[in-house]
Assembly symmetry: C2
């Protein structure tokens, strides 16, 4: 561990290199887009206009190196729940209800028990969501995956009904925070580095493997104008995606309790505040933009929408 504390880049993940590579290929991707593709809806999911009206929303996701923790602990069911709920949240926050889900499972040598646990988890999460587990691909790739290693990706399609409408976001709207139960599926490369050498006992593995929360019911229950799924990049990387230009978010950190796992990571890894906020969800798995009059009793208001004055689109107080 370096004197300066750990960072995500030091843990082997280079977000800037990815963004540069993405800039290079964006025109190629755009050239495949006909008039059916709706641009500018925020990058949580893609939107495609159906011939008969309405839009399909689609998203692809992975679980990241949380898989390594699952392998070390020998517990895989939750990883199946993770991948489904991550996908569900990505399309739910652009207003889609899930229709069906497919998975891609790749491994060095198929372990029927691991496979069964993953499908159990995916089936459970799909059933709870009213989403069909429509298919998938299972690949044995000796030489790519080490013995016992695997990767799991998910792909979801949902429907945004024709005529669906949300009021425009404006300054004065409030931010409603929906609690996470841990890291969900982001920041594990850094977290694993921080806990390197620490025995993965029952407490730690339970904390690190808590399955990604589905916010579908909350998004149905609460009347919202915008929603941000807090994944890789944390609040600063995700909340601006649902804000119109010229508006920023002001977040009051005292307004909710940050789960203890994040404090342990910060302390043990001497991770900077910026790195913590830019990597982890810090206890907020989803943030909704809500008209103040629409905040249901008991919901957690964690900040508000303000006019943007400086370069920052998210101010954390």
């Amino acid at each position: 561990m370096s004197q300066e504390g750990l960072s995500y880049a030091a843990a082997g993940v280079d977000i800037e290199a990815y963004e540069k590579a993405l800039e290079r290929v964006k025109p190629l991707i755009a050239a495949t887009h006909g008039k059916e593709v709706v641009a500018g809806v925020g990058p949580f999911a893609g939107l495609y206009a159906l011939p008969g009206g309405g839009h399909l929303a689609a998203s692809a996701d992975g679980v990241g190196t949380k898989i390594k923790v699952a392998i070390a602990a020998g517990r895989h069911r939750g990883i199946g729940v993770d991948i489904v709920n991550h996908c569900v949240n990505d399309i739910a926050c652009i207003g889609a209800r899930p229709l069906f889900f497919l998975d891609y499972f790749a491994t060095g040598k198929l372990d029927p028990d691991v496979f069964a646990q993953l499908v159990e988890g995916m089936s459970q999460a799909c059933r709870e969501t009213g989403c069909a587990l429509l298919g998938g691909e299972t690949a044995e790739m000796p030489g790519v995956y080490a013995l016992g290693d695997y990767d799991l990706a998910g792909f979801i399609v949902g429907l945004v009904d024709a005529g669906a409408h949300r009021d425009a976001i404006q300054a004065g709207d409030v931010l409603v925070g929906l609690r996470s139960n841990g890291l969900h599926t982001n920041g594990y490369s850094l977290a694993r580095k921080v806990f390197e050498g620490v025995p993965l006992n029952e407490t730690l593995s339970r904390e690190l493997l808590a399955p990604h929360t589905s916010y579908l019911d909350d998004l149905r229950r609460i009347r919202w104008k915008g929603a941000a799924h807090i994944t890789g990049g944390g609040v600063p990387g995700n909340l601006p995606r649902c804000l119109p230009e010229g508006l920023a978010a002001s977040l009051e950190t005292g307004a909710w309790e940050v789960p203890p796992i994040f404090e342990r990571i910060r302390a043990r890894g001497r991770v900077s505040d910026d790195e913590m906020w830019g990597t982890f969800n810090m206890g907020l798995g989803m943030i909704l933009v809500v008209d103040p009059k629409d905040v249901p009793p008991g919901e957690m208001v964690v900040g508000e929408v303000v006019a943007q004055r400086g370069p920052d689109r998210v101010m954390i107080h």
Copy 2:
């Protein structure tokens, strides 16, 4: 290399173990299926009924260990074409036209050049197909993928128009074979084992990396009753998927030329006939079931549909 010659199982891929595991989890998957999921359409893709009529067809695929050949040769563009065309064929052979595609790209450390080549290939194939590259997920997973290694999965969604109809398959229908340009994306674990130690020169790498053919135009041009995409499991593993019960396929191997790469694999690895046919496409990337009067001039008739008399659903003469 064993005295008995190489087999797919010896190359590390155990199809039986997978099928056993799948049997175990099928009831869990079925429990997620509402009335919108159409069963029994053959396993190339899943079908989901849209509220407004018509069906969505969806499929997930990987490229398998062909990726290892691409990495060794340092050529990745074709892998992008592979994954799209594999997906396109899977839904085209149940009568769907592609709407959009998403990818999942996972690697140990992002190489911007590899990433750009893959997106170039995917964009090209999507453009040629009239399919939108709607989104994707890129994951850096140090510790899961070795430096330079990666995996690429694809997800496709297509539309089967309401009222689409195909005549029933019957004995006397003929099999029209559509030529493959090589292994496409199947059998690479065995092929790599066979060529172990052989220098990957220009000729061999071009042969092994020829991109998966898209048959979308052929499937639009020819009037067909059934179609089988010949992937993992070869002709015996895939052709029966499009045949009604009680019917079998009789294939005349003299009717087309098997590309030389397959003969080289057979000779060098002393691979049995059964193994060759059960692993590779043997020169037929897609087989269509066609009414004899609908066979366009110049098409390659490779066999016919007959009443099933014994246990075999595919007889190779």
